[in-house]
Amino acid sequence: MSKHKPNNLIAEFLNYLDERFGIKKEIFFDYGFDTDGERISIFSEGINNKNLDGLIIKSIGLRAGKYFKDIRNGRVKLKISTNFAQIFGRYATKNVLQINDDEVKEYIRGSDLENIRPLNVEEGEVIIKWNENVIGGGNYSQGKIKNQIPKKKRLTKISDENF
Protein backbone atom coordinates (compact mmCIF):
# COMPACT_ATOMS: atom_id res chain seq x y z
CA MET A 1 0.00 0.00 0.00
CA SER A 2 1.10 3.59 -0.63
CA LYS A 3 2.48 6.19 1.76
CA HIS A 4 -0.89 7.94 1.82
CA LYS A 5 -4.42 6.83 2.54
CA PRO A 6 -6.44 6.17 -0.62
CA ASN A 7 -9.18 8.62 -1.56
CA ASN A 8 -11.97 6.09 -1.36
CA LEU A 9 -11.27 4.29 1.87
CA ILE A 10 -14.26 1.96 1.68
CA ALA A 11 -13.63 0.86 -1.92
CA GLU A 12 -10.00 0.25 -1.03
CA PHE A 13 -11.05 -1.80 2.01
CA LEU A 14 -13.30 -3.99 -0.12
CA ASN A 15 -10.51 -4.43 -2.68
CA TYR A 16 -8.17 -5.42 0.11
CA LEU A 17 -10.58 -8.09 1.41
CA ASP A 18 -10.85 -9.54 -2.09
CA GLU A 19 -7.19 -9.41 -3.03
CA ARG A 20 -5.78 -10.50 0.32
CA PHE A 21 -8.39 -13.03 1.45
CA GLY A 22 -10.58 -13.76 -1.54
CA ILE A 23 -13.61 -12.32 0.28
CA LYS A 24 -15.84 -11.06 -2.54
CA LYS A 25 -17.69 -7.73 -2.51
CA GLU A 26 -20.98 -9.48 -3.28
CA ILE A 27 -21.05 -10.87 0.27
CA PHE A 28 -21.64 -7.34 1.51
CA PHE A 29 -24.65 -6.64 -0.68
CA ASP A 30 -26.95 -6.33 2.36
CA TYR A 31 -24.62 -4.07 4.30
CA GLY A 32 -23.48 -0.48 4.31
CA PHE A 33 -20.06 0.90 5.21
CA ASP A 34 -19.00 4.06 6.98
CA THR A 35 -15.64 5.61 7.78
CA ASP A 36 -14.29 8.37 9.99
CA GLY A 37 -11.15 8.60 7.84
CA GLU A 38 -9.32 5.94 9.81
CA ARG A 39 -11.72 3.22 10.90
CA ILE A 40 -14.14 1.39 8.64
CA SER A 41 -17.49 0.26 10.06
CA ILE A 42 -20.00 -2.15 8.60
CA PHE A 43 -23.71 -1.90 9.34
CA SER A 44 -26.97 -3.59 8.40
CA GLU A 45 -28.86 -2.21 5.44
CA GLY A 46 -31.91 -1.56 7.66
CA ILE A 47 -30.19 1.50 9.12
CA ASN A 48 -30.13 3.26 5.75
CA ASN A 49 -33.83 4.05 5.55
CA LYS A 50 -34.22 5.31 9.13
CA ASN A 51 -34.73 8.94 10.02
CA LEU A 52 -31.74 9.70 12.22
CA ASP A 53 -32.44 13.44 12.58
CA GLY A 54 -31.74 14.68 16.06
CA LEU A 55 -29.52 11.76 17.05
CA ILE A 56 -25.93 12.55 17.96
CA ILE A 57 -24.29 9.34 16.83
CA LYS A 58 -21.28 7.96 18.69
CA SER A 59 -20.85 4.94 16.49
CA ILE A 60 -22.62 2.97 13.82
CA GLY A 61 -22.45 -0.77 13.17
CA LEU A 62 -19.41 -2.90 13.87
CA ARG A 63 -15.78 -1.90 13.42
CA ALA A 64 -14.54 -3.80 10.39
CA GLY A 65 -11.00 -2.57 10.08
CA LYS A 66 -8.68 0.38 10.22
CA TYR A 67 -5.95 2.16 8.37
CA PHE A 68 -2.69 2.62 10.24
CA LYS A 69 0.83 3.76 9.50
CA ASP A 70 3.47 1.03 9.63
CA ILE A 71 6.22 2.61 11.72
CA ARG A 72 8.88 0.46 10.02
CA ASN A 73 8.42 1.97 6.57
CA GLY A 74 5.86 4.78 6.98
CA ARG A 75 3.39 3.08 4.64
CA VAL A 76 -0.34 3.20 5.25
CA LYS A 77 -1.72 -0.30 5.80
CA LEU A 78 -5.06 -1.92 6.46
CA LYS A 79 -5.96 -4.26 9.28
CA ILE A 80 -9.23 -6.09 9.80
CA SER A 81 -10.78 -6.25 13.27
CA THR A 82 -11.00 -9.48 15.26
CA ASN A 83 -14.80 -9.25 15.48
CA PHE A 84 -15.16 -8.62 11.74
CA ALA A 85 -12.86 -11.58 11.02
CA GLN A 86 -14.93 -13.81 13.32
CA ILE A 87 -18.05 -13.07 11.27
CA PHE A 88 -16.81 -12.73 7.69
CA GLY A 89 -13.55 -14.67 7.87
CA ARG A 90 -15.42 -17.86 6.94
CA TYR A 91 -15.69 -16.51 3.39
CA ALA A 92 -11.91 -16.24 3.04
CA THR A 93 -10.33 -18.52 0.45
CA LYS A 94 -6.69 -17.54 0.84
CA ASN A 95 -4.23 -16.48 3.50
CA VAL A 96 -6.12 -18.53 6.03
CA LEU A 97 -3.95 -20.17 8.62
CA GLN A 98 -5.24 -23.19 10.52
CA ILE A 99 -3.86 -23.66 14.04
CA ASN A 100 -4.09 -26.70 16.30
CA ASP A 101 -5.59 -27.29 19.75
CA ASP A 102 -2.39 -26.44 21.61
CA GLU A 103 -1.80 -23.31 19.59
CA VAL A 104 -5.34 -21.96 20.02
CA LYS A 105 -4.99 -22.07 23.80
CA GLU A 106 -1.91 -19.89 23.57
CA TYR A 107 -3.37 -17.57 20.97
CA ILE A 108 -6.61 -16.89 22.86
CA ARG A 109 -4.51 -16.04 25.90
CA GLY A 110 -2.72 -13.41 23.82
CA SER A 111 0.61 -15.10 23.01
CA ASP A 112 2.37 -14.89 19.68
CA LEU A 113 2.89 -18.22 17.92
CA GLU A 114 6.29 -19.41 16.75
CA ASN A 115 7.61 -22.14 14.48
CA ILE A 116 4.55 -21.97 12.26
CA ARG A 117 5.12 -23.45 8.80
CA PRO A 118 1.90 -22.94 6.86
CA LEU A 119 1.39 -23.83 3.23
CA ASN A 120 0.13 -21.29 0.70
CA VAL A 121 0.18 -18.36 3.10
CA GLU A 122 1.82 -15.09 2.16
CA GLU A 123 3.59 -12.90 4.68
CA GLY A 124 1.38 -10.18 6.15
CA GLU A 125 -2.12 -10.24 7.57
CA VAL A 126 -3.75 -13.67 7.84
CA ILE A 127 -7.06 -15.03 9.07
CA ILE A 128 -6.53 -17.58 11.81
CA LYS A 129 -8.83 -20.56 12.16
CA TRP A 130 -9.19 -23.29 14.70
CA ASN A 131 -11.31 -26.09 13.27
CA GLU A 132 -14.36 -24.25 11.88
CA ASN A 133 -13.96 -21.24 14.17
CA VAL A 134 -12.31 -18.05 13.03
CA ILE A 135 -10.21 -16.72 15.89
CA GLY A 136 -9.42 -13.38 14.27
CA GLY A 137 -6.59 -11.79 12.37
CA GLY A 138 -2.86 -12.16 12.89
CA ASN A 139 0.32 -10.94 11.31
CA TYR A 140 2.39 -13.74 9.78
CA SER A 141 6.08 -13.27 9.16
CA GLN A 142 8.98 -15.73 8.99
CA GLY A 143 7.31 -18.59 10.83
CA LYS A 144 5.82 -16.36 13.51
CA ILE A 145 2.28 -15.05 14.04
CA LYS A 146 2.02 -11.78 15.88
CA ASN A 147 -1.10 -11.81 18.01
CA GLN A 148 -3.69 -9.22 17.01
CA ILE A 149 -6.44 -10.07 19.46
CA PRO A 150 -7.29 -6.92 21.43
CA LYS A 151 -6.02 -7.15 25.03
CA LYS A 152 -9.52 -6.74 26.46
CA LYS A 153 -10.79 -9.68 24.46
CA ARG A 154 -8.04 -12.11 25.42
CA LEU A 155 -8.91 -14.82 27.91
CA THR A 156 -5.72 -14.67 29.92
CA LYS A 157 -6.98 -16.91 32.72
CA ILE A 158 -8.57 -19.61 30.61
CA SER A 159 -7.52 -23.08 31.73
CA ASP A 160 -6.96 -26.04 29.42
CA GLU A 161 -9.90 -27.97 30.87
CA ASN A 162 -12.28 -25.42 29.31
CA PHE A 163 -11.46 -26.65 25.81
Binding site: F43, I47, N51, L62, Q86, K153, L155
Partner: protein
Protein backbone atom coordinates in the same frame (compact mmCIF):
# COMPACT_ATOMS: atom_id res chain seq x y z
CA UNK B 1 -20.52 -17.33 50.73
CA UNK B 2 -21.17 -15.04 53.71
CA UNK B 3 -24.54 -14.53 55.31
CA UNK B 4 -26.75 -11.85 53.89
CA UNK B 5 -28.17 -9.21 56.22
CA UNK B 6 -31.76 -8.36 55.43
CA UNK B 7 -32.68 -4.82 56.58
CA UNK B 8 -35.73 -4.94 58.86
CA UNK B 9 -37.58 -2.37 56.76
CA UNK B 10 -36.97 -4.50 53.66
CA UNK B 11 -38.37 -7.51 55.49
CA UNK B 12 -41.46 -5.57 56.58
CA UNK B 13 -42.18 -4.32 53.06
CA UNK B 14 -42.00 -7.78 51.52
CA UNK B 15 -44.03 -9.22 54.33
CA UNK B 16 -46.71 -6.71 53.32
CA UNK B 17 -46.35 -7.57 49.62
CA UNK B 18 -46.05 -11.33 49.92
CA UNK B 19 -47.68 -12.36 53.18
CA UNK B 20 -46.80 -15.97 53.97
CA UNK B 21 -44.60 -16.23 50.87
CA UNK B 22 -42.16 -13.75 52.36
CA UNK B 23 -40.20 -16.47 54.14
CA UNK B 24 -39.58 -18.43 50.95
CA UNK B 25 -38.74 -15.15 49.16
CA UNK B 26 -36.10 -14.28 51.76
CA UNK B 27 -34.75 -17.84 51.66
CA UNK B 28 -34.33 -17.57 47.89
CA UNK B 29 -32.61 -14.20 48.26
CA UNK B 30 -29.92 -16.06 50.18
CA UNK B 31 -29.48 -18.81 47.59
CA UNK B 32 -26.75 -18.34 44.98
CA UNK B 33 -27.99 -17.66 41.48
CA UNK B 34 -27.83 -20.39 38.83
CA UNK B 35 -25.51 -19.49 35.96
CA UNK B 36 -27.35 -18.89 32.73
CA UNK B 37 -26.09 -18.50 29.18
CA UNK B 38 -27.84 -17.21 26.10
CA UNK B 39 -26.85 -18.75 22.78
CA UNK B 40 -26.00 -15.91 20.40
CA UNK B 41 -27.74 -16.94 17.20
CA UNK B 42 -26.09 -14.07 15.33
CA UNK B 43 -22.95 -16.19 15.47
CA UNK B 44 -24.15 -19.74 16.13
CA UNK B 45 -25.87 -20.94 12.99
CA UNK B 46 -26.40 -24.60 13.88
CA UNK B 47 -27.85 -24.34 17.37
CA UNK B 48 -28.62 -28.06 17.77
CA UNK B 49 -25.05 -29.09 17.00
CA UNK B 50 -23.72 -26.33 19.23
CA UNK B 51 -25.87 -27.44 22.17
CA UNK B 52 -24.93 -31.07 21.57
CA UNK B 53 -21.28 -30.12 21.82
CA UNK B 54 -21.79 -28.08 25.01
CA UNK B 55 -23.90 -30.84 26.50
CA UNK B 56 -20.97 -33.25 26.22
CA UNK B 57 -18.86 -31.00 28.43
CA UNK B 58 -21.34 -29.38 30.83
CA UNK B 59 -24.66 -30.05 32.47
CA UNK B 60 -27.25 -27.92 30.69
CA UNK B 61 -30.84 -27.24 31.65
CA UNK B 62 -33.21 -25.37 29.33
CA UNK B 63 -34.61 -22.08 30.54
CA UNK B 64 -38.32 -22.94 30.25
CA UNK B 65 -39.46 -19.57 28.91
CA UNK B 66 -36.64 -18.80 26.46
CA UNK B 67 -35.75 -21.25 23.66
CA UNK B 68 -32.16 -20.02 23.25
CA UNK B 69 -31.04 -19.90 26.92
CA UNK B 70 -29.70 -22.56 29.28
CA UNK B 71 -28.71 -22.90 32.89
CA UNK B 72 -25.18 -24.29 33.03
CA UNK B 73 -23.15 -25.92 35.80
CA UNK B 74 -19.91 -24.12 34.78
CA UNK B 75 -18.89 -21.76 37.58
CA UNK B 76 -17.31 -19.24 35.26
CA UNK B 77 -18.70 -19.38 31.70
CA UNK B 78 -16.53 -16.32 30.96
CA UNK B 79 -13.61 -18.74 30.64
CA UNK B 80 -15.21 -20.91 27.99
CA UNK B 81 -13.89 -20.69 24.41
CA UNK B 82 -17.49 -20.12 23.29
CA UNK B 83 -17.43 -16.90 25.29
CA UNK B 84 -14.29 -15.79 23.46
CA UNK B 85 -16.03 -16.38 20.13
CA UNK B 86 -19.10 -14.39 21.21
CA UNK B 87 -21.25 -17.49 20.90
CA UNK B 88 -22.60 -17.36 24.45
CA UNK B 89 -23.66 -14.39 26.56
CA UNK B 90 -23.76 -14.74 30.32
CA UNK B 91 -27.14 -13.32 31.25
CA UNK B 92 -29.49 -14.00 34.12
CA UNK B 93 -32.62 -15.80 33.00
CA UNK B 94 -35.03 -13.13 34.30
CA UNK B 95 -33.28 -10.42 32.33
CA UNK B 96 -34.15 -12.30 29.13
CA UNK B 97 -37.80 -11.36 29.64
CA UNK B 98 -37.99 -7.65 28.60
CA UNK B 99 -36.73 -8.21 25.01
CA UNK B 100 -39.10 -11.18 24.67
CA UNK B 101 -41.99 -8.98 25.88
CA UNK B 102 -41.30 -6.50 23.05
CA UNK B 103 -42.44 -9.09 20.46
CA UNK B 104 -39.85 -7.96 17.93
CA UNK B 105 -40.23 -9.22 14.40
CA UNK B 106 -37.30 -11.33 13.11
CA UNK B 107 -38.08 -10.30 9.54
CA UNK B 108 -39.20 -6.77 10.23
CA UNK B 109 -37.73 -3.37 9.65
CA UNK B 110 -38.28 -2.01 13.11
CA UNK B 111 -36.74 1.10 14.61
CA UNK B 112 -35.98 0.32 18.24
CA UNK B 113 -34.65 2.57 20.99
CA UNK B 114 -32.86 1.02 23.96
CA UNK B 115 -32.92 3.89 26.44
CA UNK B 116 -30.49 2.55 29.07
CA UNK B 117 -28.55 0.03 27.01
CA UNK B 118 -25.21 -0.55 28.75
CA UNK B 119 -23.67 -3.08 29.17
CA UNK B 120 -25.75 -4.46 26.30
CA UNK B 121 -27.18 -7.80 27.38
CA UNK B 122 -30.69 -6.91 26.27
CA UNK B 123 -29.46 -4.94 23.26
CA UNK B 124 -27.54 -7.91 21.92
CA UNK B 125 -30.53 -10.15 22.65
CA UNK B 126 -32.83 -7.81 20.71
CA UNK B 127 -30.37 -7.78 17.80
CA UNK B 128 -30.44 -11.58 17.67
CA UNK B 129 -34.25 -11.65 17.80
CA UNK B 130 -34.27 -9.12 14.93
CA UNK B 131 -31.69 -11.16 12.96
CA UNK B 132 -29.53 -8.04 12.70
CA UNK B 133 -32.30 -6.40 10.64
CA UNK B 134 -33.99 -3.04 11.15
CA UNK B 135 -32.17 -0.68 13.48
CA UNK B 136 -31.55 -0.44 17.21
CA UNK B 137 -30.40 2.83 18.75
CA UNK B 138 -28.51 1.77 21.85
CA UNK B 139 -28.32 4.68 24.24
CA UNK B 140 -26.58 5.29 27.52
CA UNK B 141 -25.83 8.53 29.33
CA UNK B 142 -22.50 7.37 30.77
CA UNK B 143 -19.36 7.33 28.63
CA UNK B 144 -17.78 4.74 30.93
CA UNK B 145 -20.72 2.39 30.55
CA UNK B 146 -20.76 2.95 26.80
CA UNK B 147 -17.25 1.41 26.62
CA UNK B 148 -18.68 -1.85 27.97
CA UNK B 149 -21.60 -1.53 25.57
CA UNK B 150 -19.25 -1.13 22.57
CA UNK B 151 -17.27 -4.17 23.63
CA UNK B 152 -20.34 -6.37 23.85
CA UNK B 153 -21.99 -5.12 20.67
CA UNK B 154 -18.81 -5.86 18.74
CA UNK B 155 -18.08 -9.20 20.38
CA UNK B 156 -21.58 -10.45 19.68
CA UNK B 157 -21.60 -9.37 16.02
CA UNK B 158 -24.33 -6.72 16.25
CA UNK B 159 -24.54 -4.69 13.04
CA UNK B 160 -28.02 -3.16 13.09
CA UNK B 161 -26.85 -0.71 15.72
CA UNK B 162 -26.28 2.97 16.37
CA UNK B 163 -24.87 4.11 19.70
CA UNK B 164 -25.90 7.42 21.28
CA UNK B 165 -25.30 9.11 24.62
CA UNK B 166 -28.56 10.94 25.37
CA UNK B 167 -29.21 11.81 29.02
CA UNK B 168 -32.74 10.52 29.40
CA UNK B 169 -33.25 12.38 32.66
CA UNK B 170 -33.20 15.71 30.80
CA UNK B 171 -35.74 16.83 28.18
CA UNK B 172 -34.92 15.31 24.78
CA UNK B 173 -35.04 17.35 21.53
CA UNK B 174 -38.45 17.43 19.84
CA UNK B 175 -36.81 16.03 16.70
CA UNK B 176 -36.73 12.71 18.54
CA UNK B 177 -40.46 12.68 19.28
CA UNK B 178 -42.71 10.00 17.73
CA UNK B 179 -39.75 8.28 16.07
CA UNK B 180 -39.45 4.70 17.32
CA UNK B 181 -41.65 1.66 16.82
CA UNK B 182 -40.44 -0.04 20.00
CA UNK B 183 -38.64 1.26 23.07
CA UNK B 184 -37.01 -0.63 25.89
CA UNK B 185 -36.54 1.24 29.17
CA UNK B 186 -34.55 -1.08 31.39
CA UNK B 187 -34.25 1.61 34.00
CA UNK B 188 -31.40 2.16 36.45
CA UNK B 189 -32.77 0.90 39.75
CA UNK B 190 -32.00 -0.19 43.29
CA UNK B 191 -31.27 -3.73 42.00
CA UNK B 192 -33.07 -5.50 44.87
CA UNK B 193 -33.66 -8.42 42.53
CA UNK B 194 -29.94 -9.01 42.00
CA UNK B 195 -29.26 -9.85 45.65
CA UNK B 196 -28.58 -13.51 44.77
CA UNK B 197 -25.50 -12.53 42.77
CA UNK B 198 -24.54 -9.26 44.50
CA UNK B 199 -24.88 -9.76 48.21
CA UNK B 200 -23.84 -6.20 48.97
CA UNK B 201 -26.85 -4.75 47.21
CA UNK B 202 -28.93 -4.59 50.37
CA UNK B 203 -26.19 -2.76 52.26
CA UNK B 204 -26.83 0.19 49.92
CA UNK B 205 -30.60 -0.20 50.20
CA UNK B 206 -32.93 2.39 51.79
CA UNK B 207 -36.44 3.68 51.17
CA UNK B 208 -34.90 7.10 50.52
CA UNK B 209 -32.90 5.56 47.66
CA UNK B 210 -36.06 3.99 46.19
CA UNK B 211 -37.85 7.34 46.25
CA UNK B 212 -34.88 9.11 44.67
CA UNK B 213 -34.69 6.53 41.87
CA UNK B 214 -38.45 6.70 41.32
CA UNK B 215 -38.12 10.39 40.42
CA UNK B 216 -35.36 9.62 37.89
CA UNK B 217 -37.34 6.73 36.41
CA UNK B 218 -40.38 8.95 35.86
CA UNK B 219 -38.21 11.45 33.95
CA UNK B 220 -36.85 8.63 31.78
CA UNK B 221 -40.23 7.09 30.99
CA UNK B 222 -41.68 10.52 30.15
CA UNK B 223 -38.96 11.11 27.55
CA UNK B 224 -39.26 7.58 26.22
CA UNK B 225 -43.03 7.91 25.70
CA UNK B 226 -42.46 11.14 23.79
CA UNK B 227 -39.99 9.32 21.53
CA UNK B 228 -42.41 6.46 20.83
CA UNK B 229 -44.58 6.45 17.69
CA UNK B 230 -48.34 6.23 18.02
CA UNK B 231 -49.32 2.57 18.40
CA UNK B 232 -45.70 1.79 19.31
CA UNK B 233 -44.73 -0.50 22.19
CA UNK B 234 -42.67 0.48 25.22
CA UNK B 235 -41.41 -2.13 27.63
CA UNK B 236 -40.40 -0.81 31.04
CA UNK B 237 -38.38 -3.11 33.25
CA UNK B 238 -36.24 -3.08 36.35
CA UNK B 239 -34.32 -5.67 38.32
CA UNK B 240 -36.02 -4.53 41.48
CA UNK B 241 -39.34 -5.33 43.11
CA UNK B 242 -39.90 -2.02 44.91
CA UNK B 243 -43.34 -0.59 44.00
CA UNK B 244 -41.93 2.96 44.06
CA UNK B 245 -39.69 2.05 41.11
CA UNK B 246 -42.24 -0.04 39.30
CA UNK B 247 -46.02 0.29 39.63
CA UNK B 248 -45.74 3.90 40.83
CA UNK B 249 -43.73 4.80 37.71
CA UNK B 250 -46.26 3.10 35.43
CA UNK B 251 -49.14 4.71 37.32
CA UNK B 252 -47.51 8.09 36.67
CA UNK B 253 -47.22 7.23 32.94
CA UNK B 254 -50.86 6.13 32.72
CA UNK B 255 -52.02 9.28 34.49
CA UNK B 256 -50.05 11.73 32.37
CA UNK B 257 -49.61 10.30 28.87
CA UNK B 258 -51.60 8.54 26.16
CA UNK B 259 -50.50 5.02 26.94
CA UNK B 260 -52.24 1.84 28.03
CA UNK B 261 -50.95 -1.35 29.64
CA UNK B 262 -50.94 -4.53 27.56
CA UNK B 263 -50.86 -8.12 28.73
CA UNK B 264 -47.50 -9.87 28.54
CA UNK B 265 -47.80 -13.46 27.41
CA UNK B 266 -44.71 -15.63 27.76
CA UNK B 267 -45.09 -19.39 27.82
CA UNK B 268 -43.72 -21.35 30.78
CA UNK B 269 -42.97 -18.25 32.82
CA UNK B 270 -44.42 -18.12 36.30
CA UNK B 271 -45.54 -14.58 37.05
CA UNK B 272 -47.40 -12.57 39.64
CA UNK B 273 -49.51 -9.60 38.71
CA UNK B 274 -48.64 -6.00 39.53
CA UNK B 275 -50.03 -4.40 42.66
CA UNK B 276 -52.78 -1.75 42.66
CA UNK B 277 -52.30 -0.33 46.14
CA UNK B 278 -49.17 0.70 48.00
CA UNK B 279 -48.63 2.62 51.23
CA UNK B 280 -52.32 3.42 51.41
CA UNK B 281 -52.45 4.87 47.90
CA UNK B 282 -54.72 3.38 45.26
CA UNK B 283 -53.04 2.88 41.90
CA UNK B 284 -54.59 2.13 38.49
CA UNK B 285 -56.35 -1.24 38.30
CA UNK B 286 -54.63 -1.79 34.93
CA UNK B 287 -51.37 -2.32 36.81
CA UNK B 288 -52.50 -5.90 37.35
CA UNK B 289 -51.22 -6.49 33.81
CA UNK B 290 -47.66 -5.66 34.91
CA UNK B 291 -45.61 -8.71 35.82
CA UNK B 292 -43.57 -9.31 38.95
CA UNK B 293 -40.99 -12.07 38.82
CA UNK B 294 -39.99 -13.21 42.28
CA UNK B 295 -36.77 -15.25 42.66
CA UNK B 296 -38.65 -18.26 44.07
CA UNK B 297 -41.06 -18.49 41.15
CA UNK B 298 -38.63 -19.39 38.34
CA UNK B 299 -35.37 -19.75 40.33
CA UNK B 300 -34.01 -16.50 38.82
CA UNK B 301 -33.32 -12.95 39.91
CA UNK B 302 -36.24 -10.70 40.83
CA UNK B 303 -37.64 -8.60 37.96
CA UNK B 304 -40.50 -6.33 37.03
CA UNK B 305 -41.75 -5.89 33.47
CA UNK B 306 -44.56 -3.82 31.94
CA UNK B 307 -45.67 -3.42 28.36
CA UNK B 308 -47.25 -0.12 27.30
CA UNK B 309 -48.86 0.84 24.00
CA UNK B 310 -49.03 4.48 22.90
CA UNK B 311 -52.57 5.35 21.89
Amino acid sequence: MGDIVIPSEFNERYSKLLGEDNKIFLDFCKKPLKKCIRINTLKVKNTDKFIENLDERYKLEKVPFCPYAYFIDHLNPGKMPEYFFGEIYIQDAASLIPPIALNLNPDGDEFVFDACAAPGSKTTQMAQIMNNKGCIVANDASNDRIKALFFNLESYGVMNIIVTGINMERPVPEKLYNKFTQILVDAPCSCEGTVRKDRKVLSRWSVRLLNFLSVQQKKIIKNAINMLKKDGILVYSTCTLAPEENEEVIDYALGNFDVEVEEIEIKNLKIREGITEWNGNDLSKDLKKCIRIYPQDNDTEGFFVTKLRKI
